[in-house]
Subunit: 393 residues, 2 copies
C-alpha cells in the first residue's frame, strides 16, 4: 500500500512512518516543520533527540530499504497540496498536519486565528484535492476525543440514535470542545461529513484520546526516536508530570484533578491507525472511531507518575494542585464507547501504569535536555486571559 502522511515529522506521524516502512509499505511524507518552530518559540524542544528532517528521512529510508519521498510545505496552501496529490497516486492519506496544542490556541487572538484557519484550510484543501485527483483514496484523519467534551450521558462513536418528541433519527453526537484547538477539530469533522455527503469521499475520522509514551517496536529496533514535548504548551499532562518527577519539581495537577480523559499508548495508537489503513472505510463511507484504551483522572495519572518516579528515582515526589489555567469541568460523568476498533481486531498491548516507568527512564537518559527546558513546564497560558491586545507569554 502507498500512504501519504501529512505531518510525518510529528509525534504520531514519525512513529507511523516507521511502522509502515517496517511492514513493507511505501511512504510519502509531507510536513512544514511547523511544530519544531512553534516549540522553539516557547523556549522548549523535544527531550528525545530528533535529527533535522532530511537526515531523519534518509536514515529511516536506509534502515528499512525503502525510499520515503518528502515534500516540505504547508497544507494550507492549495497549490502545494494539489502538487503532491498529482505526483503521488496513493491508496491512503493520513492527515496529521494540524496545529495540535490546546494551550497554543488559547494564547491570544493571533494563535486562535492561526489554529482555526490553518487547521480548517488544510483539511478543505485536502478534500478538494482528493475529490479532483484521488476520489477513491482513503482519508484517515486525526480528530480528538476532546471534540465531545464531557456530557452527562454516554459518548457514542460519532453518531447515535435518539428519540425526541416521539420520533427517531440517527444524528451526529453534539460536540462541545474546550479550546479553539479542540473546536478546530470539530469544524474539521463537520467539514469531512459534508465532503463525504456531497462527493462520497471515503473517510475515517479518528477521535483519539491522549497518547503517551516514547517507544514503539520500531523505535526500539532503530533508535530513531519520535519527538517528545514537555512544555506547558506542547506537552501533555502525562509528559509534564514525568519530566517534573525527573527534574525534582512538584507535579502540577491542574485544579481539583478529577477531570477524566481517555488515554492510549503510542504503540497502540500506531496499531490502531494501521488497522484503519488495512481495513479502510468503504466506498462512500464516513466512519468514526473512538481511539483510546482506558480513561483516568488527572489525579490518577499524577499518582502513577509519583509511584513510578519514587521507585525509579529513590526519592519522594510531591503532587501540587495549582489553579486550573483551563476552563473545564472538575467533576463530570465520563463514559465514551470504544468498541469499533476492537471489532476490527485491535487488542491493547500496553498499559499506562506500566509505561510510565519506561517514559521516566527515557527522560532520565536525556535529562540534560529536559533540564534545559525546565522553565517551560509550569503553566503560563490561561483560557480566561486569552486576548488580542497583549500576548500572555
Amino acid at each position: 500500500m502507498k500512504v501519504i502522511i501529512l505531518g510525518i515529522d510529528g509525534y504520531i506521524g514519525w512513529a507511523l512512518a516507521l511502522r509502515l516502512l517496517r511492514e513493507g509499505h511505501e511512504v510519502v511524507g509531507v510536513d512544514s516543520l511547523y511544530t519544531r518552530r512553534r516549540v522553539e518559540e516557547v523556549g522548549s524542544g523535544s527531550v528525545t533527540p530528533i535529527p533535522e528532517i532530511n537526515r531523519r528521512i534518509s536514515e529511516a529510508s536506509k534502515f528499512y530499504g525503502s525510499n520515503i519521498t518528502f515534500y516540505h510545505g504547508d497544507v494550507n496552501d492549495p497549490d502545494f497540496v494539489y502538487n503532491f496529490m498529482e505526483k503521488e497516486v496513493s491508496d491512503a492519506i493520513v492527515h496529521l498536519a494540524e496545529q495540535r496544542s490546546a494551550p497554543y490556541s488559547m494564547i491570544g487572538l493571533r494563535q486562535a486565528r492561526e489554529t482555526l484557519i490553518q487547521n480548517m484550510g488544510g483539511t478543505i484543501n485536502l478534500v478538494y484535492a482528493m475529490k479532483d485527483i484521488a476520489p477513491k483514496a482513503h482519508l484517515l484523519k486525526l480528530g480528538t476525543m476532546g471534540e465531545y467534551g464531557t456530557p452527562n450521558i454516554d459518548i457514542p462513536e460519532g453518531f447515535f440514535e435518539i428519540e425526541y418528541h416521539g420520533r427517531r433519527d440517527t444524528l451526529p453526537f453534539p460536540k462541545f470542545a474546550g479550546s479553539w484547538y479542540h473546536w478546530s477539530k470539530v469544524h474539521d469533522t463537520n467539514n469531512l461529513m459534508f465532503a463525504n455527503r456531497v462527493w462520497g469521499l471515503r473517510i475515517t475520522d479518528v477521535m483519539q484520546g491522549v497518547v503517551y509514551g516514547t517507544r514503539t517496536r520500531e523505535i526500539n529496533e532503530t533508535g530513531f526516536y519520535t519527538r517528545f514535548d514537555i512544555d506547558e504548551v506542547w506537552g501533555t499532562a502525562m509528559n509534564r508530570f514525568c519530566v517534573q518527577a525527573v527534574l525534582g519539581i512538584p507535579i502540577t495537577a491542574y485544579g481539583k484533578g478529577d477531570q477524566r480523559r481517555g488515554f492510549l499508548s503510542l504503540e497502540d495508537s500506531i496499531s490502531c491507525l494501521m488497522l484503519g489503513l488495512e481495513k479502510p472505510a468503504g466506498e462512500g463511507e464516513y466512519r468514526v472511531y473512538n481511539q483510546f484504551d482506558e480513561h483516568y483522572s488527572i489525579n490518577e495519572i499524577a499518582q502513577f507518575v509519583k509511584d513510578a518516579g519514587e521507585s525509579i528515582l529513590g526519592r519522594s515526589i510531591e503532587i501540587s494542585h495549582v489553579e486550573n489555567p483551563r476552563v473545564e469541568k472538575d467533576q463530570h460523568y465520563y463514559n465514551p464507547e470504544h468498541r469499533k476498533l476492537r471489532e476490527l481486531g485491535y487488542h491493547p498491548s500496553r498499559s499506562l501504569k506500566e509505561d510510565v516507568h519506561e517514559i521516566i527512564s527515557d527522560i532520565q537518559k536525556f535529562r540534560d535536555t529536559a533540564e534545559k527546558y525546565r522553565s517551560s513546564v509550569a503553566p503560563k497560558t490561561y483560557w480566561k486571559e486569552s486576548s488580542g491586545l497583549r500576548n500572555q507569554h
Copy 2:
C-alpha cells in the same frame, strides 16, 4: 441605545439601520462592500436601486436627523475590528458581515476557503474585541435555519434535553448543514458557544429562515430601498421565481420541489432583530432563536409566485422542474420549533402569499434592471461539480 451594525450595506443591515434610526437609536455602520463586488462578478446587481455607500449613509442620516458613523473595512482584519470597537462604545453589536451565499461557497475551492475563513475570522475577531474592550455589550449574530439541516425529528431552538442509555443531558442540537456557507454558520455557532462559556459574553444567535420582500415601514416612508438580488448565486429561490415571472422565463424549481424551508418577511425579520436588541441576552447568557414564521415547500412558493404573477401580469406562467444543482433531501420531515420570539412579544405582520404581489410589482417597476441581469438567473453552480482545478462559471 447605540448599535454597531456589521454589514450595514446588506439586505438586512440596511433595513435594520433605517428601523433603528426611525426609533431614535444611534447607529454605527461597518461594511467592506463585499456583496456589491461579488454580485457584480457574477454579472448581476441589485434590482432595486441602491446608491453608493456614502450617499446612502448621508441621505438616511439626513432623513432621520441622526448621523450614522461609517467604517469601511474588512471584519476579518483584527486591527480594523479593534479600531472601531475602541472608538465606538456601544450597547449592542449586530453581526451581519458574512459571506451569505450557499451557491457562492460551492463554486470551487477558492470560494469555499473564502467563505469558511472569512466568516470564521470575522466572528473570532469580534468575540476577542468584545472580550477585551466591551465585555458587557450584547452580540446579536445572524445564523441560519440551514444549520440544522432536515433531521427526521423536531428541531428545537438551539438546545434540547435528551435521554441516551438511561441518562439525561441538555445539549446543543446536532447540526447538519448543506453547503460550506451553511457550515460556516455552524462553525460560528460553535465558536460563539465557546466564547460564551470561557468569557461569559452575552450572545443572541439567530437561526433565521429565508427572508423575502422588498419593503419595510421605513423603506415605504423614505424610498431608500435595500438591495434585492435575483441571480442564481446571490438571490433566494423566492426572488428568482418572482423575477422569472416578470421576465417571462419559466420558474425553475430545483429537483422535485418538495424541500421545505422556514420563511419570514423582511419587515418581520427587522421586528424580530429589534426585539432581540430591546430584550437582550442576560449577563453571561448565550441564547438561540429560530427566527421564521411559516414553512413552505419550493413547489408551494413556485405556485404562489405563479398565481400572483398571472393575476398581476395577465399571462400564464410556467413552472419547470430542473435538475437540482444542490445536494439536499427532496422529501423530508420538517418541524422546527419557534416559540421564543413569540414569548418575547413578536407577532407576525405579513404573509408570504400576500407579499409576493408586492415583490412582483416592485420588480416590474425596475424591470429594465432585471432584464439586464436576465442571464444570471438560471442555475450554474452545481454542488457535485465544485472543484479546485477549474471554476464552474
